[in-house]
């Protein structure tokens, strides 16, 4: 168009920064409760945990300083290796499948209208509000090797009833599947929020641009909800690294050494065997693993999204 328009199209000058003392004070007052709670309930225990990891100590009470002995022991501990790989395996089985499935369902649900959408969304979300004990009972009974309603189906494939939670190769995939079923509602919700943030006009523009459904998804929807995807992946990664409840419940009484995750190793060391120092050591290592993985993942994914 003409040059006349460009003259006013200069972006607004950056607002001058100004702080007065009252604002700073107000900000401090608002931030303070969080900082205090965060320091007392997170920073302090974390430091204590790190300190404890250098001790041979019971769960409660004083111990003796032993330097890095716990860490040396940890890297020689066969169980730690098993727990680490089980955790990584579980993360692989859940994080990406849960995210992709949630995205697919969200895209589907988003196409529905009115009460139908609410109903279907509720169906997918209800498992999320169940406590883990209920999830355990429900699936435990469905898969029960004697009376489970899924066993006739399994018998069709396998020829006989299969005690899936007592069959090592099936254990993690089954628990991972149940976890995805259980927690996917929240991810769907996040994706739907992301999808609803995309203006319908964008899709109309795409329709006028002659975009095929597939290209619309890959070139418009997917890039536009990429930030949500990164968020979901990161939340999932952190949550699944901390896997405990389901694996503990389904594995309880069974070959728990073979199915154990890192948090379970912490629990067993600190709470069951009263070895607080060693439990703290595993916890510190898990903490570092999660920090490294999540920061790496977040940075990598964000970098990709920014391209």
């Amino acid at each position: 168009m003409s040059a006349a328009a460009t003259a006013t199209d200069v972006p607004l000058p950056a607002r001058k920064k100004r702080f007065n003392r009252n604002e700073v004070l107000a900000a401090l007052i608002f931030v303070l409760p969080f900082v205090v709670v965060y320091a007392v309930l997170f920073i302090y225990p974390t430091l204590q945990m790190i300190w404890l990891s250098f001790h041979k100590a019971p769960l409660i009470g004083p111990g003796t300083f032993i330097g890095f002995d716990n860490y040396v022991k940890l890297f020689k501990d066969k169980l730690f290796g098993v727990a680490f790989w089980n955790t990584v395996y579980f993360v692989l089985l859940t994080v990406v499948p849960a995210t992709l499935t949630a995205l697919a369902i969200a895209v589907g649900v988003n196409r529905l209208k009115g009460w139908m959408q609410s109903l279907i969304l509720a169906c997918f979300f209800i498992p999320y509000i169940l406590p883990v004990s209920v999830v355990f009972r429900v699936w435990g009974w469905m898969f029960d090797s004697q009376f489970g309603i899924l066993q006739p189906l399994i018998a069709l494939v396998a020829g006989d009833n299969v005690p899936v939670f007592r069959t090592l190769p099936l254990f993690m995939p089954t628990v991972a599947f149940i976890t995805v079923w259980w927690t996917i509602g929240f991810n769907i919700l996040l994706f739907i929020a992301g999808l609803r943030n995309i203006s319908p006009e964008i899709y109309e523009a795409a329709a006028l641009d002659g975009t095929s459904k597939w290209r619309q998804f890959t070139r418009i929807t997917w890039p536009l909800i990429w930030p949500v995807t990164v968020l979901v992946l990161t939340i999932q990664l952190i949550a699944q690294f901390k896997i405990f409840d389901q694996v503990y419940l389904f594995g309880n009484g069974g070959r728990s050494d073979a199915t154990m995750g890192l948090v379970q190793l912490i629990y067993r060391s600190a709470f069951q065997k009263n070895n607080g120092g060693y439990g703290a050591t595993v916890a510190v290592v898990l903490f570092l693993i999660i920090v490294v993985f999540s920061v790496l993942q977040f940075q990598m994914l964000r970098a990709r999204g920014e391209k």
């Binding site: 019971p58 769960l59 090797s145 004697q146 005690p163 007592r166 009484g253 069974g254 050494d257 709470f271």
Partner: protein
């Protein structure tokens, strides 16, 4: 404003304090007794409070069974905020004492409350000691028993003239009986909770005891010498049942009971704590057959059955010790519970307190009386910080014994791995 409020608060506190002190001793009580056990304990607690109105009042809280309970006990003991008295598994006592959670109970205190070691079975009383010191008072002996479907057993000719099962002693005999029952149209000969280590441990430990096998010897070695062979033998007995389809593989706890109550398996090994389940089902007419329970048959040299005890223990209260009066009240509670433990037998348990066990009322109480021989033939879990409820030994049972029973690992190799694992955990 603030001042007058404080004054009022102080005043009212001052007025209330003597009233509380004069009224009664409040005894804080923790237990882990849910389900049918819990109902019966609640009745006992109410009875106690009614009888001691104005003198002692028990304020009871029920917590989650197993590791959560013991973790809470330990952490609260460390900061002096635990209960005044609590239920405790005798098998768990060594770990409790080693972590400093338990307070010693002196002979004088026991005598003052009218209790003495002579009132309990010796093995039971000893199981409540660590290094010769008393840390608990047994309340019951609970064990595993053989539940049976009398109709099916009678049809297979396995009921004797005395109306009790017969012909089940000996490994081969028992297996033959199972085969006979299965041939008679039952899905399984016997139902066992084969998906978990704890239930398998109870059977295994009974069979090991019947051979005088020692799981942990006096030198702190697991399955030393020929104990390993005995353990392999014990494991093989159950593994054979599963292998030959006489017992269900990898079956969960509720399913294992349902197989029995549903008539699909005429025999079932489970804890005495399931007696109320059978009694209730039978009373409601939902069982569909006549049931009974006997002590485990003698598979090897002599009768022996794994047993544990619910006991009473007093937690340490570091920096917050209780008064002598309160401690006396606690001992009174313990003594009263034992003397009234006949009601507790309704939960399937055998009272630990011999005068009750020897009473006429108990001797006619069925099926308890039938299997009360357990009290004399009981083998308690090894006394070790690695043993007991929710202990590394239980975990090891899940890791090695359970898969061996289900045919995933050869019994010989399973027992060797179990031995090495536990030995490796000795510090």
């Amino acid at each position: 404003m603030m001042k007058s409020f404080l004054k009022m608060a102080l005043l009212s506190t001052a007025l209330l304090m003597p009233a509380v002190a004069q009224a009664q001793e409040v005894v804080t009580w923790w237990d882990f007794l849910g389900g049918g056990d819990g109902v019966r304990m609640k009745a006992l607690l109410e009875k106690f409070n009614a009888e001691h109105a104005g003198k002692i009042e028990i304020q009871a809280t029920t917590l989650e069974w197993g590791t959560p309970f013991y973790t809470k006990v330990q952490t609260s003991a460390a900061i002096g905020e635990g209960p005044d008295v609590m239920t405790y598994h005798l098998s768990r006592l060594p770990l409790g004492v080693s972590s400093g959670a338990l307070s010693e109970i002196t002979t004088d205190e026991l005598t003052a409350a009218g209790l003495s070691g002579a009132d309990f079975a010796e093995s039971n009383w000893k199981a409540a000691q660590v290094d010769g010191k008393q840390y608990a008072v047994p309340f019951d002996i609970h064990s595993v028993v053989l539940y049976y479907n009398k109709d099916k057993l009678a049809a297979a000719g396995l009921i004797g003239d005395n109306g009790l099962p017969t012909g089940l002693d000996g490994v081969d005999n028992f297996k033959a009986a199972l085969q006979k029952l299965k041939d008679g149209g039952s899905e399984y000969g016997i139902s066992i909770h084969s998906a978990a280590g704890d239930s398998q441990w109870r059977i295994f430990y009974s069979l090991l005891g019947q051979q005088d096998g020692q799981f942990l010897d006096a030198d702190g070695n697991f399955l030393s010498g020929d104990n390993l062979d005995k353990a392999v033998k014990a494991t093989s007995v159950v593994a054979d049942w599963v292998k030959d389809g006489l017992a269900p593989a990898a079956t969960e706890y509720p399913a294992s009971i349902a197989l029995f109550t549903g008539g699909k398996a005429p025999l079932h090994i489970n804890g005495v704590w399931e007696v109320p389940t059978m009694t209730d089902l039978s009373a409601k007419g939902e069982l569909g057959f006549e049931w009974g329970a006997i002590a485990l048959p003698t598979f090897f040299d002599h009768p022996a059955t794994w047993a544990d005890s619910h006991a009473f223990a007093i937690p340490n209260r570091v920096g917050n010790e209780v008064s002598a009066e309160k401690r006396a009240a606690v001992l009174q509670v313990i003594a009263w519970m034992n003397k009234n433990s006949l009601a507790w037998a309704d939960a399937g348990h055998i009272p630990a307190y011999s005068p009750v066990r020897d009473s006429e009322e108990f001797k006619t109480k069925q099926p308890n009386a039938t299997y009360s021989i357990l009290a004399d033939t009981a083998v308690f879990d090894p006394s070790s910080v690695l043993a007991g409820v929710a202990s590394p030994v239980y975990d090891a049972a899940g890791n090695y014994l359970m898969p061996a029973v289900n045919g995933e690992i050869d019994p010989q190799s399973a027992m060797e791995q179990m031995r090495d694992d536990l030995q490796g955990q000795v510090e």
